[in-house]
Subunit: 440 residues, 2 copies
């Protein structure tokens, strides 16, 4: 007698680990799923630094969302940037790349927009110190790293040479540590004997960190071992420092005693902090949800917003229990939200068990033969840590057709130092070619 | 009694096939070689379209010049753009990426700057119709191709959908034909079943060519077969047409009868012509050498400039005998010039035999299972042509570490249509990240 109800419409904002795992959990559910993202690809973020460092290609770490979700008949992918949520009308507003507006109506909303690089109120630093969150960032960093050695080679002034051979990294978390290790390995191994007027091995890598240790989240013992490994690699650690200025020639930092020191470095990379993208603030305004200082959205124990059981927030932008911004947290919260919706779509009304994070541990790669791994009480470093890192990453790339390619690329770089993806685009402005115009 | 003479200084402008083969020929010669190029890599140009089409990565077709020339102890690589030649003082002037000037003194100069895309006096077309000469071009085209299908998917207006699903290619030479084949294969095979609101297979590919045939340089019989294959693939050929206008929404063409027709297409790619870069005009001014209409420099039969036996011009920018702009010509002229210098450095004074091009033939890929190959009297098309193409390209990639990777990528795309390098950077302007500033 009743007309068959139209299937419930689930909109997932963000195609990172959280959004992807939410969509996957809804595969056999009688709902329609729309995944909207600013990029057409799902990015394997933990290996982004390897793309920046010239080991892996873009295609090896970024697969089209459509390909990843190809077998999910109920999923539609939309390339657009979500800009606002109309909570009353249950509509996500989004902007297409050429500027026109899209409206995506929903019955259930999963917000998985992730976090972006934060410059702590100094967005003007960004021009001089790219972050490490997107494929664009990785290609920009690849360009700057390899160009710096080229510039050092042709500089006549010894002081200019030194500046091009000095790399400053801001932030001592996994990404900063991984980049520091990569730059020293590029300098010592990859570029060995390629230059005439410089010895790339003399390149200085300075790592600035506000706290008293690198990789603090791994615990004091692994942090100390990581610091030892980094120093052994030739990375100069400047702990307890805060960056106060960045320009095209270097940066200024203040230490705990309030002394400000200037460091000349033509390459400055920024991995120091994250902040929520604008959509998080729009959502908080619309729903009255609280945000923490970085903009993460406070959620109920079942990841919904208070007063809005139809809205779930997952992944890095979710502010529950101060969980770290790890791929593992994103996957688990995304899958949890997707399962909750699946149960609800199946008519089960029992209240959901609160989300509980199952800590599988974490790993950070330092250099060939060295990584730190923390999994429960298990703390590994050095070669055992590295082998574990290798195993985890080969296993996790399983869904990726490029696993074989990645293993080959690693075999080459571990054995010989050669990097297969060093090519970068022209360092000269293309005068005749303005940026693509919106076709709108 | 005499002081040992300083080694002769050879400057090679350009690290393409011509410059590279010249440097290689000088490997064991008692000269110092400086290779100066705007890019840090040597580009395997014949496969550039595969990078644009998402089959190969940048690293698979572009290797750092330093790596390619690693074993050449007498070679120095310089990342800079040659801007002028002071013929009297024997100095090449160049600009480094941050703008400062470099002076490269030479005893012998080899000019191998290649040709760039020509818009026949309409440089304003470039913003709407990228060319296909550089890695930047290929990544730009990859971005536009895959973005177009995404835009078609989210367009609400059927007319806008049709425009995004229409691809116009200007130029019916090998690059235009290869791109036309790639786009139809992407539409029919790679993207099959990935979209909800469009059928990618309906994408129209329009190929505009000024003459009466595509691949005219392959001879009438192969040209006719190529046209048949393209039409069978669904490519619409518009022969005998000249493009009179290009904008963000399409292009206008005039046919032989003088009738102008407008075609709506949100993606327009340009492979129609080439012109010499500004250095060629600078060199012609300085030496009085003649240039042809496209700017190629007239040379003596031994590839030197009249009155300047110390300057040799090789590769695409050399105007001898109206030779075609093929990799093979570039390799042979580069190697010839390098050998001539090697003999001269070894003190042999016999006049060099004039350069003679040994035509090894040429090949153009159309689609899976279809290519045309011309080698002397041997004309192949269809599957035999394709197998020959495959053999030649695998063989020629020999020097490339990525040969295995390329073969794997081809195996995947031929077998399943899947393309491993579809990832493109963000289609949204990165508001916070201005382009890298010159650090000068």
């Amino acid at each position: 007698m009743d007309e068959p109800a139209a299937p419930r419409r689930v909109v997932i904002v963000g195609g990172g680990f959280a959004g992807l795992f939410a969509a996957r959990a809804l595969r056999r559910s009688p709902v329609t799923v729309t995944v909207v993202d600013r990029c057409a690809h799902h990015l394997f973020q933990p290996l982004l630094y390897q793309c920046a460092a010239g080991i892996l290609s873009e295609g090896q770490i970024a697969r089209p969302l459509r390909v990843v979700l190809r077998r999910h008949r109920n999923v539609r992918c939309v390339l657009a940037e979500a800009t606002d949520v109309d909570v009353a009308a249950r509509i996500v507003r989004a902007r297409r790349p050429e500027g026109s507006e899209l409206e995506l109506p929903y019955d259930d909303l999963i917000v998985a927009v992730g976090m972006r690089q934060s410059y702590f109120g100094h967005d003007e630093f960004a021009a001089h110190a790219p972050g490490m969150k997107t494929l664009d960032d990785a290609l920009e960093i690849r360009h700057r790293l390899y160009r710096a050695f080229e510039m050092a080679e042709t500089a006549r002034d010894p002081e200019e040479k030194r500046q091009w051979l000095t790399f400053a990294l801001v932030g001592g978390g996994p990404t900063g540590v991984e980049l520091a290790g990569q730059i020293r390995e590029i300098a010592r191994r990859t570029l060995e004997r390629e230059f005439s007027t410089i010895d790339p091995g003399t390149a200085r890598v300075l790592l600035f960190e506000g706290s008293d240790e690198v990789l603090g989240t791994f615990g004091a013992s692994l942090a100390a071992r990581a610091a030892r490994t980094l120093r052994g690699l030739g990375v100069e650690l400047h702990l307890g420092t805060r960056v106060t200025d960045v320009d095209a020639r270097g940066l200024a930092v203040r230490d705990r005693e309030g002394v400000t020191t200037r460091f000349d470095a033509r390459t400055v990379l920024w991995t120091a902090g994250v902040e929520a993208p604008p959509l998080a603030a729009a959502l908080a305004r619309a729903t009255g949800a609280a945000q923490d200082r970085a903009g993460r959205i406070a959620v109920e124990p079942d990841l919904t917003l208070r007063g809005h059981p139809e809205i779930r927030v997952v992944g890095d932008v979710m502010g529950l229990d101060r969980l770290p911004g790890l791929a593992e947290v994103a996957m688990q919260t995304g899958a949890y939200a997707g399962r909750a919706l699946r149960h609800s779509a199946a008519g089960r009304t029992a209240p959901a068990k609160p989300f509980r994070y199952f800590d599988m541990g974490s790993a950070a790669y330092i250099c060939r033969g060295r990584a730190v791994v923390r999994a429960g009480r298990l703390h590994l470093s050095g070669v055992p840590g590295w082998l574990t890192w290798l195993f985890i990453h080969v296993a996790f790339l399983t869904g990726f057709r490029s696993r074989l390619g990645a293993v080959l690329s690693w075999a080459v770089v571990f054995a010989s130092g050669a990097r297969r993806e060093r090519a970068f685009t022209s360092p000269f402005a293309q005068a005749r070619m303005p940026p693509p115009e919106a076709g709108g």
